[in-house]
């Protein structure tokens, strides 16, 4: 049966990370899902809250009154959770579980949105080693028939400058090999910055325009660099920056050298990237952080202040952000912080 509020679907505690129920798209729905009359789904949230309240009527009028009040309270809590700003830190045991959790979250978001012709779900996408597991899971859900990308538009965060598009390390190649070639996305809806465009700033401005024309990003998925950067917004980037050309920091070049046979001279030194401001404009942001080498960056992003030297910290001020991590990534956090977020419901 389709559950309604988004929170109850996607809020497993670390103790039961794999219990996230997966939604099925309405067309492939099992008989159970069809049991709920369509009309109920279209009723506004407040009315649903009162329906919960009234459903519990029974017994004496006092009991009925009590249950009605309880129902109303529940309804308001639901409303609050839905519309209030939240920052969540979801901690899974290891990389695989974190990847699966993130993939299920994305999958559920898309299905709940019910994208269709003329009403696309817009997804921001990252590259690098962290999201690989998540992509694999999304491909699995697609191959199982549970998830279609037919009405999904994607916007990648960045691309190297000067690297041929068919170079095995370009982000175009990455996205093709690790994601696009396995799913049913329309090529016209897959947007990646062109690092070989004749005028790079024009390319960046056009990218911003495309995002705007698509109605903004519904869910921006990102990673974090060891120096706390989001996309290629290196330490020192403006927190209200837009898509632009950036020179890569030494930390990033070192981190990327492993993809270029360990030869630093082969690593591109410039890239086009969405700005911090661009990602902040998204309606929802999910940051994937796994591995002990990212732990310090996570600490700086969550427990210290908003600081342009650790650009992911900007998301402390985003109305709706989820940080998905594994245990290793929390190694630099205070025990108190970890306990708090693990206990959250």
């Amino acid at each position: 049966m389709l559950t309604l509020p988004q929170e109850s679907v996607c809020s497993p505690s670390a103790a039961q990370p794999l219990d996230v129920p997966m939604l099925r798209p309405p067309e492939a729905a099992s008989p159970r899902a069809c049991a709920e009359p369509p009309a109920a789904r279209r009723r506004p949230l407040l009315a649903r809250c009162f329906r919960i309240a009234s459903a519990r009527r029974g017994g004496g009028s006092a009991a009925a009154f009590r249950s009605a009040v309880l129902g109303v309270c529940r309804g308001f809590i639901l409303l609050y959770k839905l519309f209030a700003a939240i920052m969540r830190l979801v901690i899974l045991e290891d990389y695989d579980q974190a990847s699966e959790w993130a993939a299920k979250y994305i999958c559920n978001r898309i299905i709940q949105f019910k994208p269709t012709q003329g009403r696309y779900f817009t997804l921001g996408l990252p590259t690098g080693s962290t999201p690989l597991g998540c992509y694999k899971k999304l491909i699995e859900y697609h191959k199982n028939g549970d998830l279609s990308f037919k009405y999904v538009k994607t916007f990648n965060m960045d691309e190297y400058v000067g690297l041929p598009r068919n170079h095995p390390e370009s982000y175009h190649s990455y996205m093709w090999n690790n994601f696009f070639k396995h799913i049913d996305i329309d090529p016209n809806n897959a947007h990646i910055l062109d690092g070989n465009a004749p005028d790079l700033q024009v390319e960046c401005d056009a990218f911003e325009k495309k995002i705007e024309e698509a109605g903004g990003i519904d869910l921006f998925v990102g990673g974090i660099g060891p120096d706390g950067h989001i996309a290629f917004n290196e330490p020192g980037s403006s927190l209200s920056s837009r898509t632009r050309l950036k020179t890569l920091a030494m930390d990033t070049i070192l981190a990327n050298a492993k993809y270029f046979d360990g030869d630093l001279s082969k690593v591109p030194t410039m890239a086009l990237t969405v700005g911090v401001g661009t990602v902040m404009d998204a309606r929802e942001v999910m940051i994937l952080i796994t591995g002990a080498h990212k732990a310090f960056a996570l600490y700086k992003a969550i427990e210290e202040g908003v600081n342009h030297m650790w650009t992911v910290s900007a998301f402390q001020q985003h109305p709706r952000t989820i940080f998905v991590c594994d245990e290793d990534a929390t190694l630099e956090l205070r025990v108190k912080t970890v306990k708090y977020f693990k206990g959250e419901h």
Binding site: R165, N166, W176, K181, D184, P187, N188, I192
Partner: protein, 409 residues
């Protein structure tokens, strides 16, 4: 999904759920085909924003480049060295039948024959693309008549000639025309062979050494003048000797010009060479191995007597002898049998076995940019094989030209 292709409106086929031979190994990738050529799907996606029009599930099969047979004398009752009235339909029949063996391109081979035969037959052979009508013809392989009398094998002695007198002119006079000749097998110890080899190589014709008693230095000299192939290694040549390895020594010779490779054909039917010899050759020079069938008219037919040029041969199982003797004369093995036998005898990888029948012959003939691989922009000549390398389906230029009936794919 609506496809929006800016380069061409031709339909795009995507073969999924398969393992294809690319980059010298079997990879889990899809094969994309458009207009008879293998398409780069990444380029299609990003540059043209295109997608597949039709998807075909290969059910886990291996996709390999079509086999190329550079030495086949006939089959199914057809003898390429026999000048008959319906020669053309004979060649068409063989071209069509070998599709089921996985051969998508071949070189019809003529054994030593009188000049009249060449003059009659060669104009009837034309280089042409393959298709539903049959495998493509890359050009003729003329095995003889400029060979050694001592190593004639099944070739008729009275037709053997030399070009000692007029060199290349003798060869021209014998064959008549050089159009559509792809390979010439000759014995390099014949006087003036160097100039003949040079002339042939200049014209883009591949020169092969065979039916010869040449020693290693004669063979090396021939290679230096342009020879690049050895016809059925070990057969019809001096045996390997540790002080004069003969033509066999070319496999490990250090006198091969830089940047060139000597290829050698082997009939891996289990009869023409002992599996141990097959292994020795393969281990000595794995990149030069070219599997050939050297099939004769009796291939595909019941045991009994058949013609081979001017001779009569007798088939008994997989063995073919000159009638009444124990001299081997061609084989009746099919190309896919040869590939399987090679795999089994050498214990090599599936990729190596497949390459010996596809990539290496293409490299020998200098056509690997369009045949013999599943690289992007290559001709879409490929096979669907099961794990034991039995051909399930044959495709030429992206069209299915043969299918194993038992499987209802």
């Amino acid at each position: 999904m609506p496809s929006n292709k800016s380069v061409s409106d031709a339909p795009i086929a995507q073969f999924t759920n398969c393992r294809l031979l690319r980059g010298r190994r079997l990879q889990r990738e899809d094969l994309w085909v458009r207009e008879g050529k293998i398409l780069n799907p990444e380029k299609l996606f990003f540059d043209e924003k295109g997608s597949a029009d039709v998807q075909l599930d290969c059910k886990g099969c291996i996709l390999a480049p079509g086999f190329i047979d550079v030495q086949i004398n006939g089959g199914f009752g057809v003898d390429f060295s026999l000048a008959t009235d319906d020669f053309r339909s004979g060649i068409d029949l063989v071209a069509q039948k070998i599709l089921s063996h996985g051969v998508t391109s071949f070189c019809p081979t003529l054994v030593t024959s009188p000049p009249s035969v060449y003059h009659q037959i060669l104009p009837q052979i034309s280089v042409r693309n393959g298709g539903a009508h049959g495998a493509g013809i890359l050009g003729a392989h003329l095995e003889g008549p400029f060979i050694s009398k001592e190593k004639k094998g099944a070739h008729p002695e009275h037709c053997i000639r030399t070009f000692e007198e007029n060199g290349f002119q003798d060869l021209l006079a014998t064959y008549g025309s050089l159009d559509c000749i792809r390979i010439v097998t000759l014995a390099p110890e014949i006087k003036r062979s160097s100039e003949v080899i040079q002339e042939l190589t200049k014209r883009g014709i591949c020169v092969s050494l065979g039916h010869s008693v040449a020693n290693l230095s004669q063979a090396e000299e021939a290679v230096q003048h342009g020879a690049t192939f050895i016809t059925h290694l070990f057969n019809a040549m001096l045996p390997f000797h540790h002080r004069d390895p003969g033509i066999v020594g070319l496999l490990t010779s250090d006198k091969i010009p830089a940047g060139r490779r000597v290829f050698y054909g082997m009939i891996s039917d289990g009869i023409h060479t002992n599996p141990a010899a097959l292994r020795i050759a393969h281990r000595a020079h794995p990149k030069g191995m070219v599997l050939v069938t050297d099939a004769i008219a009796g291939m595909g037919l019941a045991p009994g007597r058949h013609t081979l040029g001017q001779q009569v041969v007798e088939i008994d199982g997989l063995n073919t002898y000159i009638a009444g003797t124990k001299t081997l004369s061609g084989s009746v093995a099919t190309m896919d049998t040869c590939v399987r036998h090679f795999l089994e005898a050498t214990g090599c990888s599936v990729e190596t076995a497949l390459e010996a029948a596809s990539l290496h012959p293409a490299q020998l003939l200098g056509i690997e940019d369009r045949k013999g691989t599943l690289n992007y922009d290559s001709d879409a000549d490929f096979l669907m094989l099961d794990d034991s390398l039995h051909v399930q389906a044959t495709y030429i230029a992206g069209e299915e030209v043969w299918r194993q009936d038992a499987l209802g794919m």
